[in-house]
Amino acid sequence: MSRTGVFICHCGTNIAAVVDIAKVVEKAKSMPNVVYVEDNKYTCSEPGQQAIKDAIVKHKLDRIVIGSCSPRMHEPTFRKMLASTEINPYMLEIANLREQCSWVHTDREKATDKAIDLVRMAVAKVAKNHALFTSSIPVTKRALVVGGGIAGIQAALDIADAGYPVTLVEREPSLGGKMVMLDKTFPTMDCSACICTPKMVDAGQHPNITVMTSCEVEKVSGYIGNFEVTIRQKATYVDHSVCTGCGICELKCPSKVTSEFEQGMAQRRAIYKPFPQAVPAKPVIDAANCRKLNGKAKCGICQTQCPQGCINFEDEDKLITNTYGAIVIATGYELIDWKSIYGEYGGGQYPDVINGLQFERLVNASGPTEGHILRPSDGKEPKSVVIVKCVGSRDPNKGKGYCSRACCMYAAKHAHQVLEKIDNAQCYVFYIDVRTAGKAYEEFYTRTLEDGAIYVRGRVSKIYEEDGKLICKGEDTLSGQTVSVAADMVVLETAMVPAAGVEKVATLMTISRDNDNWLQEAHPKLRPVETHTAGVFLAGVCQGPKDIPDTVAQASASAAKVCGIFSKAELQTNPMISKVDIEKCSGCGDCAGICPYKAISMQDMEFIEHGKKITRRVSTVNSGLCQGCGACVAGCRPGAIDLLGFTNAQILEEVDALCL
């Protein structure tokens, strides 16, 4: 006979306020196999856990049911607690009396009945629990970082400095991401290139880091400690092992293309380095626009001009497969395509209505205008500049509902740069709020005000051209009057959205995305850099809009998590995996066909049946690969394969207990 102990938590008033704890305790006493019931103000607290440990000894309990918050919250905590007693940590069931009972119901009597049902279900299930034991799997101490922006670079550097090999994959021809496009960074106004390019060079030269630019992740299988990743090295038609980066080919290449890096405000050649400080500082050929490769002409000048003979037009994509112990995803963001959403701001027909990144390129010394703020339309210096904030952000109807966090600060920076670089310029900033939630942020904003930036509280409703000027009509909600400003140039601070193609990366890594397509972290507050897939971590804006300090902080956090895994020789596996009863298994192979992790394989085994030695095909589970989803168990008609922790018998007991 098993001796079950039931511990009902008040959770302060979170549960006790709605659920009648005394009644639940009373009812629990009469449930099958229950020999001891106790309630506690805070079961997850130190004294709370100690009370359970004492009760286990005093009442010789062997199964525990805890009525408290969601198992997703404190199941690990209570399992660790049980590990220090002589009860197996898996002889435990938790009834969710908070998130799914007291917090969501108001009627005290009905909520209490539901709480009693939930406890009865947990008591019924725990009766069928088995002791489970973890087993260990080897760890490949090599990390993969997807995305070569500042987040990816920082994570790679931290892991590499810890002594582990890292593969840094970037789909663009160079590391740097968005940060390297910026001119200055708030609040210290130090030059973005000066702090970002050294990191890129460090990453490029670090002995432990293998930089793989113009590459994309093609296929991921396996699990924490043993990810089998295939990377597609896109054809670059230039042999980087021989190329010295002398740049002759770039000069000679006849076909000109708009440069993505310069946000379309300058040109590049078909064979190009995105920007001078690119890492690796070696060109690649853009096959779509190269006259030889897209078949429009013979050309091949770069091949003839190249002193080292690095150009090879027959280059093809290569697939490189390797095993990794952990993966950090740092795929970053891009700016929302405001032109297709905001027709009222001209929908892109006015060349002088630009977005934040375009302004950064204008004001950047190595940008198309060598740092002079000149209007894209006629190259003149604009005397009056309007900056419009929250374009696409905080606008659930047309754009995105969320706030993109960083634009308030870089809008103030842009205003500061306009006033500093253009003498007696006028700068208007249309805003809803000014959010300066960072160290020295508020001081930076007040200095911009002192510089003379005019902050107008209200959205811009319309921008149209009138005799050479861009008329921005809006409203000043503080004075209640409509406002119209004639501007020479308008800068729209647009919303951040996830980088294109993030769906593919998420599906490959089996991680989910939230409503706005940002990658879903395991827990917004407690596990911001982890995902639900063990061994896969997040860093930077791919997890949600943030500024550079937070991005770098997350990058180092995910690196720490990776090093945590690599610090151990072996990893403990999840014991709640499938197990086959070979007596019942007829070898039909349905389960092997269903398993997403290829954890099940059919094997011939020797048996003695009615005195005759025979070999028979049965199903076997690889405990390292199995993640415990149970899809095979529901597909096995005789129930020969069962999922420990969620066995058929356990769930049937729960269903029966519920329907009493």
Binding site: P32, E583, H610, D656, A657
Partner: protein, 331 residues
């Protein structure tokens, strides 16, 4: 005294006032003994029903004990209620089934009180057969189709009426109840016998010596191991005991089981003394024709032919009996 056939319904209504009267009926296309009053066609003319009347005494699922457990106490209550029943239109082969079950459940030092209570409350009214199916062979098995000796009352079909012969107290009580309907008059029915004749002389003893004979090596393979033959056989009485739990309370019940099922003799650890269909079929035939006779000296096979008709792969006990005959005595 005799009861005219036109008054049978009235007679049944009278009986139905005090007891559940089970009569042979076709209900939803299935011939079985159903309580008088269910929608369906009274079928006194058919030789024997698909489902025998054995479930009046030995239902397919019978609740035995009800129990309730709480932290301190546990109470168990035997489920004993069983109301009065009358089986009307019983054939001799069905009566033989009741005789065999009586021997098993009531004699040899152990009385099954679930069965005995039902048996005390049961009145059997047999009707003699006026024709036999080609698969009937009851007279070869020591059963007289014209007269069910151990029935409480025997009705003899004389064309338009039944001669009433009450034999026991219960029979006389029914006769007294039917007094207003009965008329004077006697008559005898022309005795009938089965077309299919089998020579059962000395067979049980011979069969007991043939456990290792190679007669068993053929004829079993077609069996699909289903429970049809045992569940429609009037004399099969094997049962399994199981429980149905409902939270803190539950019921223990017994239910029919079949020796033809593969897991009937499977033991803990997976050992099965009758691993293949050969052993199981041998066990069934031996039980019907040899073992039962050794213990209760009467055949467990009533010769009703139900299994011969309904076996999906036509495993035929009569052809087996003929084959046993051909085996030389020391074979």
């Amino acid at each position: 005294m005799k009861l005219s056939k036109s008054k049978v319904n009235q007679a049944l209504d009278m009986l139905a006032k005090e007891a559940t009267v089970l009569v042979p009926m076709i209900v939803d296309g299935v011939s079985k003994f159903a309580p008088w009053g269910t929608e369906g066609k009274l079928a006194l003319d058919i030789v024997n029903t698909l489902l025998p009347p054995k479930d009046a005494l030995f239902p397919q699922t019978e609740k035995m004990y009800k129990y309730k457990v709480s932290a301190e106490t546990a109470e168990v209550k035997e489920i004993t209620d069983s109301d009065k029943q009358v089986v009307f239109g019983l054939r001799s082969c069905d009566m033989h089934s009741i005789d065999c079950m009586d021997a098993v459940f009531l004699t040899k030092g152990y009385v099954d009180n679930f069965y005995s209570r039902k048996r005390e409350n049961l009145t059997t009214i047999a009707i003699n057969c006026t024709k036999s199916n080609p698969t009937c062979f009851c007279d070869s098995m020591g059963v007289d189709p014209n007269n069910a000796a151990s029935a409480d009352m025997q009705l003899i079909d004389i064309g338009d009426a039944y001669v009433v012969e009450a034999r026991t107290e219960k029979g006389k009580a029914v006769e007294a109840l039917w007094q207003p309907l009965l008329e004077a008059g006697e008559g005898t029915a022309t005795p009938i016998s089965c077309e299919l004749k089998l020579d059962m002389a000395g067979l049980p003893a011979k069969l007991r010596g043939m456990f290792e004979s190679d007669i068993w090596d053929d004829g079993y393979q077609a069996c699909i191991g289903c429970g049809t033959c045992t569940y429609i056989c009037p004399t099969c009485y094997c049962f399994d005991i199981n429980a149905e739990n409902h939270g803190q309370e539950g019921v223990q019940f017994r239910c029919w089981d079949s020796c033809m099922f593969s897991e009937y003799t499977r033991m803990a650890g997976g050992h099965n003394p009758r691993p293949s269909k050969k052993e199981r079929l041998r066990n069934r035939f031996m039980h019907k024709l040899a073992y039962f006779d050794e213990r209760y000296n009467k055949n467990l096979c009533a010769g009703c032919g139900r299994c011969v008709v309904n076996c999906p792969v036509n495993i035929d006990i009569t052809r087996f009996i003929e084959k046993v005959k051909e085996v030389p005595v020391n074979g």
